[in-house]
Symmetry: C2
Subunit: 225 residues, 2 copies
Amino acid sequence: MDTKPDRNIIQVRQSVTRANDRTADKLRKDFHDRGIWVLNLVSSPGAGKTSLIERTLEAFKSSCSILVIEGDPHTRLDSDRINAMGVRGIQINTRGGCHLDARMIGQVLEKTDLDTTDMIIIENVGNLLCPAAWDLGQNHTVVVASLTEGEDKPLKYPEAFIRSQALVVNKIDLKPYLPKSSENLSGNALQVNPSLTVFNVSCTTGTGLADWFQWVCTCSGQTRE
Amino acid sequence: MDTKPDRNIIQVRQSVTRANDRTADKLRKDFHDRGIWVLNLVSSPGAGKTSLIERTLEAFKSSCSILVIEGDPHTRLDSDRINAMGVRGIQINTRGGCHLDARMIGQVLEKTDLDTTDMIIIENVGNLLCPAAWDLGQNHTVVVASLTEGEDKPLKYPEAFIRSQALVVNKIDLKPYLPKSSENLSGNALQVNPSLTVFNVSCTTGTGLADWFQWVCTCSGQTRE
């Protein structure tokens, strides 16, 4: 069965996403002029975005200046984890809202000194659906998927995979304890977006992270210490 | 930082959820008159809702007549799994939409013979945020959370836990391979909703499912064969 959402809602949404795209384009131009590389991380809740950010900060925080923007419906738990590493972390609470938008990013950056910033990592709200449609002015979008979520997720939730340039498959340390079918996650993701760069990592053991760091170097123009 | 979503969007949403509540109330009355018990399952993508439904069908399909309504943005993968068990499964594709609503449920049920139906299980779209606000006329809402998602999810996404009567913690077979902190998931859920009934299960090994089946018996008035 196909369902047609309410027409008024769709019209309001389209006009809002068009306004969002204009705000995102302005942000992107500003980031470009300042020489800041911006990454937008999207995933289901609990796929490991914050852990991937922590590992990435360990690798890059000595060689470049990084700002992390954390999006969550509630709590400051993630920005507290970032600040505990000695890195600037700003929390955006969406009060139950299901995604970040460009206006939210613009509002926090108005109050933030970006003069020495080389890299901004945005952790979107944990939601494999809604964040995909909202441009935040980023250079790259990366979707993180945990091997434990099941191999069918790219087929059911294709937008997040189609709009991303890379896929980080996390928690591969659990592979021996999961059904054999879990190995099809990357193949299904490449089916919906053949141009995805795929990294198989464990943020717990560190497996596979060297390739991810190299990709960050290449995309951001930054180096690791 | 607190963010204020667009006022026009909020007004449209509120008027739509009020209309949804009225439709849901009509559905609930119809279900009651027909003697049908209705369960709404919500979770992040990949927490194991479909696996929990499969195990529940194995336990109840011989003793009562069950209809499963599967919500997904795309694909018929889940209803195919249900139909393969000899149980009626109806797929609702939301075309990228992030939740089911009462109108969608009403539309599929208009075309469905409910005369001999004892139980309807609705698997909502995999999303820990948006489905929580949309009443589908159910008797009970159950949130499923995988132990691998991390213990902080009830704190970050409280609405789904507040609006549920029970929490099924799934994938407990992976507990030996997860951080010790994962054990705090239930405690955090009870912190946001002390009246939750909690089940710790593995749909892979079957551990803990007997208590879940007993809860389904008690709530639905049905018996297992």
